[in-house]
């Protein structure tokens, strides 16, 4: 029976009332009195020496308040990087400066050179066109392997090369892996590219800086997934504003997918300029600007080798990846191809030794950072593709090969430093095969053939590390931040509750799901609970929302704070009923004395906390507000199995997805409807990557797919009706809710399923095609069929 409230209920998303009726309050909806507008003049060349920026004519244009250039930021810090990776020789990565506005050089198309602040947006733009920029063009560094060759042009002249780091993991295992591959009965090798993506959140980025001269307080309104982190990074590292003088507000945010985690130049600029001009300064990113200024995702070039023994047991995995960092290090960029990628190379399998080598490379492209899945899709894709290829080479069933190598006993310590606490990969595979109607495939294949179409089936597994992350562990790995979460539960006098969380909802449905947890613990109605987030003046601290961490970490903090509330209310109830605290039970919003018919209602206890006439004042303080910080003991490990069935038009190469099934194990589920929605969205993004999306540059560093005319986003008719299931639940063992997180799974698990299916279709039709790089577009499929 579906529950009608609390944990496990498909409560309707309360936030959708305002989103669907146009009553949301997004950053661009915020307009301050006296607001000025900034337009950024961005580089239209990928690489060059900035010889001069003449702003004189622009300064005299109508409405112009001031024109800023890199020189104005000489005394200000650059944009910081939040993660330092140590290379395989024990040396720190090369970390270039990242000025707010370009200084000395421009390094990618879109690099901001100057900023005009004017009375209107159009005046700012007009004046920007009057700025005379003299750039000595340099060769664009585009190909990662060529960028590492001796004598290559350098993106950053003060670094020794274009290599950010050469990372080996686990370095001590390298020789053992080499030996295992040498002695293997069979080795399957696959070279592939994980295509660069543009995040394309529906709401482009916006920043409004405000300054109060009488108090010296700065406020930044911004489209962010983690306002507290922005306050820390911008305040401490860029502008030198202490936290108590800086407020960052991220109101309703229309999607992020990772791209709104990072601290961007435009945020620092608006905050800086608001103080310099004593005027609020607003920037609204255009869609065209977003393509060349939002951090991109993926962009790996990989060679993976899978070694098997004579019985088809996996004996080793070795990978070599070139990871594109772009022109600068975005906030968490160095951690993505390393700690969020290398640690997942075991997948769902008990491969005894693994070695992952990653060379992170600077190029004259937009910086690359986390994008939905962040490192884990790249790991999953290569592993699940090479397993499929191995099964074909060995002539064995790809599902059986996977099952044979599944990890089946938990906890399981992988050879890549992480320990899976729970899982049941056979259970999700069994569920998947039932959902995918495997026995009906032959009939569907025959039907496709009759219609002149090819048909293929692709199956794969995935595992991810979510609930990011234990602070002491990530500290050892180079993180310059903790990754706990905080929650404050404020119970008001009449019993209603406001929960302030450091998690940030930008589409995830926290305002609905989080109250379900608190309501369940207290036995009260969800409608009595409201979630506040996105404002550094409200929650004490927050690490934000990404890495499928909000319910696992933010939700756990909320549980801990609510437990403190329960403990305190029990003391009050015990006092009111003149009973022993140990005998007090809280059930359905009522405090009972065990074994008696004495009870007191939730609202009477909360009122007593604020009207403490009859109250144990000698023992506890009045009021009812508790804060907890929760630091997870481990990552969580959602896992699952996906199946995709495609038809391929042999005349045109066009792939259509006919069926898609996803069996996920997310541990306990708070709101099944929201979880299904998350999986649907993730699948659409994964299918988008597999079939359509491609941030393509030419050799001069011009982004060819710089608008929706050339960058293909998935649309409703590109995706099928999904079959999703999350009934296989092995609860997480180390967080109080037993939850694992579900936000990224769909985007992680789906690309290999699609490509496996397309290769299957082509092979069934007799084409000797073992791999096609994503996006598997009609022209690429057709070219592959031509041989």
């Amino acid at each position: 029976m579906p529950k009608d409230g609390g944990i496990g209920a498909s409560s309707k998303r309360r936030e959708d009332v305002r989103f669907l009726t146009g009553n949301g309050n997004y950053t661009d909806d915020i307009n301050m009195r006296g607001q000025a507008y900034v337009h950024f003049l961005r580089s239209d060349v990928a690489h060059g020496t900035l010889k001069s920026v003449d702003t004189k004519a622009a300064e005299g244009m109508p409405g112009v308040l001031r024109v800023f250039t890199g020189a104005d930021f000489a005394e200000v810090g650059g944009l910081p990087c939040g993660w330092q990776v140590t290379d395989r020789h024990g040396e720190p990565m090369q970390e270039p400066g990242h000025p707010v506005l370009a200084q000395g050089k421009v390094r990618h198309v879109g690099d901001p050179i100057a900023a005009v602040v004017a009375e209107s947006r159009e005046q700012a733009r007009d004046a920007a066109e009057a700025i005379e920029v003299d750039i000595d063009e340099l060769p664009a560094v585009m190909d990662m392997k060529a960028a590492l060759a001796d004598g290559s042009t350098k993106v950053h002249d003060d670094l020794t090369s274009n290599l950010c780091y050469d990372w080996g993991f686990v370095e001590e295992n390298k020789d053992a892996v080499d030996a295992a591959i040498k002695s293997a009965a069979h080795v399957t090798t696959l070279e592939l590219k994980n295509n660069r993506l543009v995040p394309n959140a529906m709401e482009p980025r916006v920043a409004v800086g405000d300054y109060n001269r009488s108090t010296d307080d700065s406020t930044l309104y911004t489209t962010s997934q983690n306002p507290h982190v922005i306050r820390l990074l911008m305040g401490a590292f860029v502008l030198g504003i202490p936290e108590h003088k800086l407020r960052v507000v991220a109101p309703d945010v229309g999607g992020g997918f990772g791209s709104k985690i990072y601290h961007y130049a435009e945020e620092a600029f608006c905050t800086f300029a608001a103080k310099a001009l004593n005027r609020p300064v607003k920037w609204t990113c255009s869609r065209s600007e977003a393509f060349i200024s939002d951090a991109h995702g993926r962009d790996h070039v990989t060679k993976i080798e899978l070694a098997l023994d004579a019985d088809n047991n996996f004996t080793a995995v070795r990978t070599e990846t070139y990871a594109n960092m772009g022109a600068y290090l975005s906030t968490f960029a160095p951690s993505i191809p390393t700690w969020l990628h290398g640690t997942l190379m075991a997948g769902n399998y008990k491969t005894p030794v693994i070695y992952v080598n990653v060379k992170a490379v600077f190029t004259n492209t937009v910086p690359v950072d986390a994008y939905r899945g962040a490192g884990r899709p790249e790991a999953t894709y290569q592993l699940e593709r090479v397993i499929d290829k191995a099964a074909r080479e060995l002539g064995v069933d790809p599902i059986a090969l996977r099952r044979q190598n599944f990890v089946t006993e938990f906890p399981y310590a992988t050879p890549v430093a992480v320990e899976y606490d729970t899982g049941d990969y056979n259970a999700t595979m069994d569920k998947l095969l039932e959902m995918a109607d495997m026995s009906g495939f032959e009939a569907r294949l025959a039907e496709s053939k009759k219609n002149g179409k090819l048909r293929g089936l692709g199956v794969n597994c995935y595992i991810e590390a979510c609930g990011i992350a234990p602070s002491n562990l990530v500290g050892q790995l180079g993180a310059r931040a903790g990754l706990y979460e905080s929650a404050t539960v404020r119970v008001n006098a009449t019993g209603g509750i406001t929960v302030m969380t450091g998690s940030h909802s930008h589409g995830q449905g926290h305002e609905t799901a989080f109250p379900q947890v608190v309501a369940d613990m207290l036995g009260i109605d969800e409608s009595m609970i409201e979630i506040e987030h996105g404002d550094t003046d409200k929650a004490p601290m927050g690490m934000g929302t990404y890495g499928s961490r909000s319910i696992a970490v933010g939700g756990s903090a909320m549980v801990r704070a609510t437990e403190k509330i329960i403990a305190k209310t029990k003391k009050i109830a015990a006092h009111l009923m003149e009973a022993s605290e140990a005998d007090i039970e809280l059930k359905d919003g009522q405090f009972n004395v065990a074994g008696t018919d004495k009870s007191v209602a939730w609202g009477d206890v909360t009122l007593a906390a604020y009207v403490p006439h009859n109250y144990p004042l000698e023992e506890i303080e009045p009021g009812l507000e508790e804060t907890a910080f929760y630091d997870p003991a481990n990552f969580t490990y959602p896992a699952g199995a996906y199946a995709c069935e495609v038809e391929v038009d042999p005349d045109t190469g066009k792939v259509t997805i006919e069926r898609f099934a996803a069996a996920d194990d997310f541990g306990n589920v708070i709101n099944p409807m929201i979880v299904s929605g998350q999986v649907h969205g993730g699948l659409a993004q994964g299918i988008g990557q597999a079939l359509l999306e491609n941030a393509a540059y030419d050799e001069n560093g011009q982004l060819l797919s710089a608008s929706y005319m050339d960058y293909a986003m998935p649309r409703a008719d590109d995706v099928p009706f999904y079959s999703v299931d999350h009934s296989c639940q092995t609860p997480c063992t180390h967080n109080p809710l037993g939850v694992k997180g579900c936000g990224e799974a769909g985007a992680i698990g789906s690309p290999p399923a699609v490509v496996n299916a397309v290769v299957d279709a082509l092979q069934r039709a007799g084409h000797d095609v073992t791999h096609i790089d994503m996006p598997v577009s009609p022209s690429r499929v057709w070219a592959a069929m031509q041989g």
Partner: protein, 262 residues
Amino acid sequence: MYAFDIERPGTIADAVAALAKSDENQPLAGGQTLIPTLKQRLAAPETLVSLGGISEIQGICQDDAGRVCIGAGTTHADVAAGAGAYPALASLANNIGDPAVRNRGTIGGSLANNDPSACYPAGALGSGATIVTNAREIAADDYFQGMFETALDAGEIITEVKFPVPEAANYQKFEQPASRFALVGVFVAKFAGGVRVAVTGASEGGVFRWSEAETALSGNFSASALDGLSLPADGMINDLHGSGAYRAHLVGVMTRRAVEAA
């Protein structure tokens, strides 16, 4: 966009006069290309002369010769709904862009712009249509002169397009995955006097007639007549979405499908 003035004449004569006032003046039809261009600041007209209020270039009728005559200001949605006498053309119009585009974009605007990936140029050339302007009548064969190039003189306005109705016709579009313009679109029309095959999306020279296919199909209007026929990849558009060879191949596929569906 840059600042500009706008005029909304009620007649073609007034529109022509308004355009003649300055070389920097530009006509605005449905705006489906021009407005995005203005927003990108890639055009800076002094005055936009809107053709949207000119009733004499709206609507669909049939002339005495049986031709379907469509006012240049008629939207794609209105052609889709109102050109039932020429089903292949109505169907073409019904598959341009999305509903928003179809409710604003006009046939005259599309033909005047002559985007190399647009659908209407294939429909007009494949049908052997006549493009009527404020000054003259131009045969489709003379009208299309390369990517974004037409026979129109500066300040000349399309007022009407006259389509002879073929015995059988069909348009097949293979969509570019991002823009959903035609990566390759082929319009095939069978008239008593022969078959016309017009191809859009494929060539660096814009819409063109595939004469070998026309000859083959004029003798035998069946897909098998196309066996062994192919176009060279030279001169075909080669971009992110497909090579010249792919496009040349698709022309064959789409032509075959159009013949089968006609």
